[in-house]
Every structure is written in C-alpha cells, then in structure tokens.
C-alpha cells in the first residue's frame, strides 16, 4: 500500500501576522488534519513565516473550471470604468 492511496492532499494557508488574512502557500501530504498542521509547520513556517496555520483537504475545494474562463472573466475586460484609472494623482501623494 503506498502513501498515495491513503494520504490525502491538504492545502495550506498561513497568516503571517495579526490583521493579515491567511494566504495560500502550497499543499502537502498528511494522513489527517493534526499531522497536516504539524507538517505545514515544518514545511512552511521554519523561517518564522507565520503565526497561524489553516489546512483544508484539497478535495473540499471547489474550483472554477478552466473551460469556463471566457464567460466568467472576459465580460469584465471591457468595463474599464470599474478600475479607478480616471483620477489624476497629485505629485505629492507619491506611490499609491
């Protein structure tokens, strides 16, 4: 029996500091949620990257389908007025 049969894949989300949202950092193998947290700690937070970890079974994620890309996202492309690009930013403001 190989681990591929009985070890689920988990998506890992790390919060780098208070006030920041959890951010997806990658995935890993683990037999259950507790070990997934420990593995995430070892794989993704060795250099003080985080203060909180979420793990989610990959199969619990519903993703948009690549072949639906056009109807989902293309309609936004010709609505430039949704982007705040019509304002002149005063020089003093610098980078915004």
């Amino acid at each position: 029996m190989s681990q591929k049969d009985n070890w689920k894949i988990w998506e890992v989300f790390i919060r780098s500091k208070n006030g920041i949202s959890h951010k997806h950092v990658g995935s890993l193998h683990a037999p259950d949620a507790e070990i997934a947290i420990k593995n995430a700690r070892d794989v993704y937070t060795r250099r003080s990257e985080g203060i909180s970890i979420w793990v989610v079974p990959s199969d619990a994620i519903t993703a948009s389908r690549p072949d639906e890309k056009e109807p989902l996202f293309a309609p936004a492309d010709d609505k430039v007025y949704r982007h705040p690009t019509f304002y002149d930013i005063p020089d003093d403001v610098g980078h915004m």
Partner: protein, 249 residues
C-alpha cells in the same frame, strides 16, 4: 574531569547522537513532509548539543572547544544513554525510540529550566519549546501507528517491545545523578520515572498498544560502556575531522 562537566557532557552527548541518528533519515523519509519533520528535529537536537558542548568546554577549562568535544572523543568517552545510539530501523521504530526519549527529555528539561546551575537553566529554557514539540510529535505518531492498520500496529508493537530494555537507563540514577540532584542541578530521577510511566501508559492506551512487562534493563551508556552501534555512528560523524584534522569550511 569534574562532576559538573561530566553531567553536561551526558546531556550534550544524548542530543548529539540522537540528532545524528535522525539526520540519517535525510533524503530517506517515507514522504517528503516526514523527511523534513525528522531532519528539523535533528537540527534542533544538534543545536542544543552545541550550547551544551560550549558550556562543557568552558567547564573543562583546558582550552578544548565544542568541536573538540563532539569530533575528537572516542566511543568510551561518550556518555549518551544506550537508547539514542540504537539504529533507526523503520519509521515506526525511529518514532518509538523518539517517543521513549522525548517523554523523558520533556520532564528532564522541565526540571532543568529551574536548575540551580544558571547556565544549564538558560540552555534548558531555550530548548524547552523545541523539546515540547518533539514530545507532541512523537506521541502523535505512536497513536497513529498503533491505532492505524493491522500492519502498522503489529510493527510498532514490536518496536515498543524491542526498545523497552533501553528505557530504564535514562531514569535509573547512578552516583553522579544523585550528586547533581543533591546540588539542585539535576532532577530526582525517580520523579521523572513516575511521570514518564504515567505519560507512556496514557499514550500506549490511546494507541491500543500493550505496555511491555517489567524486565531486565540495559545500562552502561552513561558511563561510557556502549554497544556495537556507537562506533559506527561516530565513524560517520567524525570522519572529516579524523581524516583532515582541523579542516573547516
């Protein structure tokens, strides 16, 4: 060598030899994640051994360095317990060795955080969070392997039985342990043994594993009497310094 130095070397040698053993898993873990987990623990242990060797070198006061202590002593001058030099075996076997040791080490360092020796107390407080994590990690794995599949249960039970004979030495006080206890430097090992047994029983119960019968316990490592394995561990660990004395990079 005075008693304190010898005691610190015992602590350091346990950390170094177990760290070296775990390091052998590097690139060989059953899955990438577990490979990283074990080598992380190996690095924690080797880091702890460095602090202890630095202190031991100061105590010796003859100009030796931490590197001399780690790299230039032979088998009979190492004072680690026999448990930590035992070969890795399979994943479960390594985790049983780790579980027996971590449980002991947790209660030991819990005491050492308040050792009357200020330097030992400092080192212990620095190490205690890592050691707490190690203890959690190995206990979790014993539970999963014991209460896992028929095969994992059977194999881990075999390791529980096979390594049992090496557990007594850690908690059987000898003259030096008693002296350190009297000075408030080290713990009362009977107390540690009571806590160790309680914890081990608790985890074995959850893991549906049987605790071995009380039986003959191997001893000797603490006074430099080792089994056949330590020489091979040192041969690998010390090769570079033995072949090219003083080399560095």
């Amino acid at each position: 060598m005075d008693d304190k130095t010898k005691y610190v070397l015992r602590l350091a040698d346990n950390a170094l030899i177990l760290g070296q053993r775990l390091g052998e898993w590097c690139g060989h873990g059953p899955v990438l994640e577990q490979d990283i987990a074990l080598t992380n623990i190996a690095l924690d242990l080797i880091g702890q051994s460095r602090m202890l060797y630095q202190y031991a070198a100061e105590c010796k006061g003859d100009g030796s360095t931490e590197d001399d202590l780690a790299m230039k002593r032979d088998v009979f001058d190492f004072y680690n317990v026999l448990l930590v030099e035992q070969p890795n075996g399979d994943w479960g076997h390594t985790l049983v060795r780790q579980f027996y040791y971590d449980t002991y080490n947790y209660y030991l360092y819990e005491f050492l955080c308040n050792s009357k020796d200020v330097r030992i107390a400092e080192i212990a407080r620095k190490s205690f969070k890592e050691i707490s994590y190690h203890a959690q990690f190995s206990a979790e794995w014993i539970i999963r392997l014991g209460d896992g599949t028929d095969e994992s249960h059977e194999r881990v039970q075999r390791s529980i039985n096979d390594l049992w004979t090496y557990t007594g030495e850690m908690m059987t006080p000898d003259e030096l342990d008693r002296k350190m206890e009297a000075e408030g430097v080290g713990p009362n090992l009977d107390d540690i043994a009571t806590k160790w047994k309680r914890k081990v029983n608790e985890i074995l119960d959850i893991a549906t594993l049987k605790r071995p019968e009380e039986s003959f316990m191997q001893t000797g490592g603490k006074v430099g009497e080792h089994g056949e394995h330590l020489g091979f561990v040192l041969a690998e660990l010390q090769f570079m310094q033995r072949a090219y004395p003083g080399m560095s990079w």
